[in-house]
């Protein structure tokens, strides 16, 4: 067990770039324990990369918000994804707006297309595909700028960045 812990520790600390990125995320929000509701809007796979088994690996995960100018979560939205091989899968956002898929249930072949995000009869899609980063927040960071469209949200146009 000691050997396992040592090995896991070594794996987790051998990438200073990753370690710095994880540190930059900061601590947990007050009153929110690690779990499906934690850290909305952050790049999930940065930690959930399966490197050590804890936290568990995710294949694609992110957060959907109710609008472009609000951080209110879009709860109960259905996210439909399509792999390059044509296979589709869906995930539903939770109370924090988070959704996630695990490698054992969905191991996508990139590029992956976000076919739709549906909530209450409204549907939005994504302009471009996902090239290889399973964290929505790997690209969708706030504030919007030349290198980011901002967080994922519903809009009246039917198109979400």
């Amino acid at each position: 067990m000691l050997v396992g812990l040592t090995a896991a520790s070594a794996v987790g600390s051998c990438d200073p770039v990753r370690d710095d990125a994880v540190s930059a995320l900061g601590g947990e929000a007050p009153g929110v324990k690690p779990g499906p509701l934690h850290r909305p809007g952050q790049p999930c796979l940065l930690c959930h990369d399966g490197a050590t088994g804890d936290p568990a690996a995710l294949s694609i995960a992110g957060t959907v918000y109710a609008g472009g100018n609000t951080l209110a979560p879009a709860v109960g939205a259905t996210v439909t994804l399509q792999s390059a091989d044509g296979t589709r899968t869906t995930a539903t956002t939770n109370a924090a707006g988070n959704f996630y898929l695990t490698p054992d249930t969905y191991a996508p072949k990139y590029p992956v297309h976000v076919i739709s995000i549906v909530q209450g009869g409204a549907s939005v899609t994504m302009h471009s595909h996902i090239g290889g980063n399973g964290s929505c927040a790997g690209c969708h960071t706030d504030p919007p700028g030349p290198a980011s469209p901002g967080h994922v949200y519903f809009s009246n146009s039917g198109v979400s960045p």
Partner: protein
């Protein structure tokens, strides 16, 4: 051999090596670069942006092949990806510089030979998946993306193929 002779020989060898290392091309030597057609590049840029330029791939400032475009990295500080603002002429120009600047000598050779053996280019080998590429094989011999890029290297991009390439997943 005496010590003084040995020192003399070493000195001569060192001077010779330095002289050789410091030799420079003749002042009138020129590299005549033959660049691919910039006039027919815009549809090629559109294809590249769609296929390769997402924000998690080549739409990133850290990439050698850095691509700007409407759905990826924006060139203007005031533009935002995926906001229905079309790819700008400045972005197309930057994309052109990115592509031709990757391997200018080899690109020049390929263009000079009428686009023959485009596999000489790392860009093309990676796109086909012939060389290690995180994005895998995004071009298949004979598909619209392939026709788009190879006709451009031959002299004039097949715009219809480039447009057709935009429908590929």
């Amino acid at each position: 051999m005496t010590n003084s002779r040995l020192v003399s020989h070493l000195l001569a060898a060192t001077i010779g090596a330095v002289a050789f290392a410091c030799s420079v091309p003749a002042s009138d030597a020129r590299f005549d670069e033959q660049t691919p057609d910039s006039g027919s590049f815009p549809p090629v840029a559109a294809m590249l942006v769609q296929a390769c330029g997402t924000l998690d791939c080549h739409g990133t400032v850290g990439r050698n092949l850095r691509l700007y475009g409407d759905t990826g990295l924006r060139y203007s500080a005031t533009d935002v990806p995926s906001t229905l603002v079309p790819t700008t002429p400045d972005e197309v120009a930057q994309d052109y510089e990115s592509v031709v600047g990757l391997e200018p000598e080899i690109t020049s050779e390929v263009v000079a030979s009428g686009g023959a053996n485009p596999e000489r280019l790392t860009l093309y080998r990676k796109a086909l998946g012939l060389e290690s590429h995180k994005g895998g094989a995004v071009v298949v011999h004979g598909d619209p993306r392939d026709v788009c890029i190879t006709t451009w290297l031959q002299g004039h991009a097949d715009a219809s193929a480039c447009t057709a390439a935009l429908t590929l997943p």
